[in-house]
């Protein structure tokens, strides 16, 4: 083959292809180096407030995708996670790689204390602004809204409360259950959003109905399904959705006044003992595939624009969303818990 017979254009094309493949190769090389480093670290420690079965599922999916890297799941409530992280640091223990809670205020605090590493997971460019930290330290891994749920064996749709204010009716005395902002980030966000909407007086009045107090925002779903209380006054709608899908007599009400949106961020710690594995894991959790899993089997919302949602769940765009700013959550965290305990007793 003579060089002269080859048109200039194909040479250019070849060059581009060559360059491109070089770039891809070097990227792949970088990635494989990254992967090697992660494999050498062998594990990633994940403190997460995602409901336990869901968290274990995410871990198993990651372990299947990256054999040789284990995920150590430590699941507890958002507030307990913050407590753990800070208590460990006080004793100079550096254990956690990736922190994921439902109280966005925690990430403001952790960032201020220089405990987070700056890292932008691949593929979050298309996420809405509410899912991204402007400084690039944390990103919303998932979202849920707080809703009301009731037991369909005990109440008809007509009898069920429709709005947050309906719950103040004395006829619900002894029939309601609430989760706790001192445990759950979903609930602390919920409380702040409703304080903006109806003021603290709302909770003061609600407490007159003698609510059963549980801790996790996952638990009200179980309490209502068992019939121990008829109505849950808060809780992540994904837990209600899952409970309902399992055939339990639970129905969800999205109050017209608006539903508190809870975006649960994820971040890598600045002191992560397994930083490469942490980045690999974080990237994995933000892939479209995994975000789709969260939407499908868990009933969560995500920031990923390409994720499709189950037909029997309302779209986020169809709901009136109440939001709480991370900075305000951080500032008022203690106040929220203090007043809640004051009204509800524990």
């Amino acid at each position: 083959m003579s060089l002269r017979r080859v048109p200039m254009r194909s040479i250019a094309t070849c060059a581009v292809v060559l360059l491109a493949s070089l770039a891809v190769a070097s990227l792949a090389f970088a990635q494989s180096a990254h992967l090697e480093a992660a494999k050498k670290e062998g594990k990633v420690v994940w403190y997460t407030s995602l409901a336990l079965p869901s968290a274990e599922k995410v871990a198993k999916l990651f372990e299947a995708a990256y054999p040789g890297i284990k995920v150590e799941v430590h699941r507890t409530g958002s507030q307990r996670i913050l407590q753990r992280v800070m208590q460990e640091l006080q004793a100079n223990i550096k254990n956690v790689d990736v922190v994921h809670t439902s109280d966005a205020g925690h990430f403001v605090l952790l960032k201020d204390k220089k405990l987070l590493a700056k890292y932008t997971p691949a593929g979050v460019d298309g996420f809405p602004a509410g899912f991204k930290d402007k400084d690039g330290y944390y990103y919303g891994l998932r979202a849920t809204v707080n809703a009301i749920a009731y037991n369909t064996k005990a109440l008809s749709a007509a009898e069920a409360p429709k709005t947050w204010k309906d719950l103040l009716d004395p006829k619900w005395k002894g029939k309601l259950v609430t989760a706790h902002p001192g445990y759950s980030g979903v609930i602390s966000t919920h409380v702040l959003a409703l304080v903006h909407l109806h003021g603290w007086d709302y909770f003061k009045q609600l407490a007159q109905n003698k609510l059963m107090l549980v801790q996790s925002a996952v638990d009200p779903a179980g309490v209502v399904a068992s019939g121990e209380r008829l109505v849950a006054v808060n809780g992540g709608d994904y837990t209600f959705y899952q409970t309902k899908k399992k055939g339990n007599p639970v129905e969800i009400v999205y109050p017209k006044e608006g539903v508190p949106l809870v975006v649960s961020p994820s971040a890598i710690t600045s002191f992560a003992p397994h930083p490469s594995a942490a980045r690999l894991f974080t990237d994995f959790t933000f892939t479209r595939e995994l975000q789709q899993v969260m939407a499908d089997s868990e009933g969560l919302y995500t920031g990923h624009p390409e994720v499709k949602y189950p037909a029997d769940k309302p779209k986020l765009s169809e709901l009136k969303l109440l939001t709480a700013e991370p900075e305000e959550l951080e500032k008022r965290n203690e106040e929220i818990r203090k007043r809640f305990v004051e009204f509800f007793g524990a």
Binding site: L82, Q83, V96, S216, D219, V341
Partner: protein, 578 residues
């Protein structure tokens, strides 16, 4: 210097005969005292010192602000009051349940005594928080199985019982606390001869006046002592109030101290709130000791005298039924509902084919990654604490029983002293002491080990003390007269006789460790979780199926250990002899 001089002097055989016995004691006691002082320093002095210091320290120097704050806060006053109410009623209710049961099994011809004793023992070793959890499923006002049954039988709207209430809490704590009264009383009753009662009857006293004027005064110290033990238990409990009181919107001291650790932590408040609790328990034990110390009644002497069995006549079977009713509350119903929940998809639904599943087991063991690590941690800690603890208490008991060192009474006192420290308070103290240099134990299993060892020491010591008390020193003396050395005597006479007692001490410590929650809940880190902490985590998330499965594992471990004790001791754990 003086001591080492005397030691080298005493080791020269020439002058041995003229050395007074007291000085011979000195050289032996030195290493023992050093070890004891060291152990005391790390197990108690350092942690409690930090506790006291933190409770009065501030940036501006020593202060009483924290005390003023905890005592003036209405919410904390309420927690304090709730604990008092709980403890008082648990004490009384434990008497009301434990005393008749003890009397029935010790003095009457009620049928099935061995069964009743076995069941009391089962209640004694059941982790109280598991019982509380089971009772949520039994007597939750709406979904609880008993309330559902009640409604379907009577058509009533209202619940029969609401377990999320102070009476509910008192009830659940009582059914796992009354064995303390039972043990105290059964042991005393077994020692009282019937002659005094018979003498009173011969002199014309009626049954009631015999009971009131003769029997009651004889057992009164045991009753009060049992009452105080029950009160102490109720004060120190963490799990049951966390499971039953928090949902109802009230705190006790222990749950309040625990919540001081929530972020942002207020450890100085936790410390300031711990000290009154510590003083209260110390005071109660002091009272108990005074009462028992006064028990100079010749009649409760042991040997001699006959114990006449009181015929119940027509009341035999009703009495048995009453006993079984108590045990249904403590054992049959809770264990039953736990087993049901372990095998059901939805615990509140009937156990039909549709509802039957093994998913809880596969989730707990294979999907939930914390389970295996927690079981391993628990077993590791259990075996390690039991081995070290059993060796330690055996040594201490041998030393004190044979009076091998000067001041052996002090050793005995120190070995029993941790009994006044509630688990939560111990944990706060250890946390304060060992999260800072030079010794950072927090984050390792060691801090849990230290906590468990301290907490279980009194129980193990009491068991070992009883063991050596029952081995007469004459046997050892006989061996010595026949020319055997001290070590040979230990190996061939003492050790074989003490073996079963040592194994029992091992088992008691082991059982204590695997069920420990109140200290663990403050001292764990995510990488050092134990079973009880995992159970509590699951409880906070409402994962009933997994709790039931893990709870059954814990019970199986406990009862396997109990069976072992019974096999080696040849009697049941409560010490009753046939």
């Amino acid at each position: 210097m003086k001591r080492s001089a005397s030691a080298s002097w005493s080791s020269s055989g020439r002058s041995r005969a003229v050395i007074p016995a007291r000085l011979q004691g000195v050289d032996r006691s030195l290493p023992v005292w050093l070890a004891a002082a060291l152990a005391l320093l790390f197990l108690m002095a350092l942690p409690l010192g930090w506790l006291a210091w933190v409770s009065v320290s501030s940036e501006g120097g020593p202060t009483l602000t924290h005390y003023r704050r905890v005592l003036a806060d209405p919410a904390l006053q309420k927690a304090l009051w709730n604990t008092l109410v709980l403890a008082f009623w648990v004490g009384l209710a434990s008497l009301a349940v434990g005393a008749p049961l003890a009397w029935l099994t010790a003095r009457t011809d009620v049928p099935g005594k061995a069964l009743i004793r076995g069941l009391v023992m089962a209640s004694f070793v059941t982790p109280p928080f598991l019982g509380a959890f089971a009772w949520v499923m039994l007597a939750g006002p709406n979904a609880g199985a008993l309330n559902k049954l009640w409604r379907s039988l009577t058509g009533a709207e209202e619940a029969l019982v609401n377990i999320f209430s102070m009476p509910g809490l008192v009830f659940v704590v009582t059914i796992y606390t009354f064995p303390y009264v039972y043990i105290m009383l059964a042991n005393t009753l077994a020692l009282i001869a019937s002659d005094l009662e018979e003498a009173a009857a011969v002199l014309g006293a009626g049954r009631l006046s015999v009971a009131l004027t003769v029997t009651l005064p004889l057992v009164l110290p045991a009753l009060v002592s049992g009452f105080i033990l029950a009160v102490l238990q109720a004060i120190a409990l963490f799990g049951s109030p966390a499971i039953l009181a928090l949902p109802a919107g009230f705190h006790t001291i222990t749950t309040q101290i625990w919540s001081f650790f929530h972020f942002p932590p207020k450890t100085e408040m936790a410390a300031a709130f711990s000290i009154p609790l510590l003083l209260a328990t110390a005071l109660l034990l002091l009272v108990q000791k005074k009462l028992l110390g006064r028990r100079g009644y010749a009649a409760v002497g042991g040997k001699g005298g006959q114990r006449r069995t009181i015929p119940l006549g027509a009341w035999r079977y009703p009495a048995l039924l009453a006993c079984l009713a108590v045990m249904a509350c403590a054992i049959f119903l809770p264990y039953g509902i736990l087993a049901k929940a372990a095998f059901s998809r939805a615990w509140a639904q009937p156990l039909t084919w549709d509802n039957l599943t093994l998913a809880n087991f596969s989730f707990t063991f294979f999907e939930y990654s914390a389970t295996q690590a927690a079981i391993l941690n628990t077993l590791e800690l259990g075996v390690m604490t039991a081995c070290v603890g059993a060796a330690l208490v055996t040594l201490l008991a041998y030393i004190t029983q044979r009076r091998l060192v000067l001041g052996h009474q002090v050793v005995a006192f120190l070995a029993l002293a941790p009994v006044v420290i509630p688990g939560v308070v111990l944990a706060v103290a250890l946390f304060l002491a060992y999260t800072r240099p030079p010794l950072v134990l927090y984050g390792t299993l060691w801090i849990l080990f230290v906590a468990y060892l301290t907490k279980e020491m009194p129980v193990g010591y009491a068991q070992s003390d009883a063991t050596f008390r029952s081995i007469p020193a004459e046997l050892e003396d006989a061996g010595r007269i026949l020319g055997a050395g001290r070590l040979r005597i230990l190996r061939e006479i003492t050790a074989p006789l003490a073996k079963s007692g040592i194994i029992a001490a091992w088992c008691f410590i082991f059982i204590g460790v695997i069920r420990e929650l109140s200290a663990s809940i403050i001292l764990f880190t995510p990488s050092t979780k134990v079973m009880s902490v995992v159970l509590f985590d699951l409880k906070e998330e409402g994962q009933f199926g997994a709790i039931a499965v893990l709870g059954l594992v814990m019970l199986a471990l406990t009862f396997a250990t109990v069976t072992l004790v019974q096999a080696v001791l040849g009697r049941d754990v409560l010490g009753a002899r046939e």
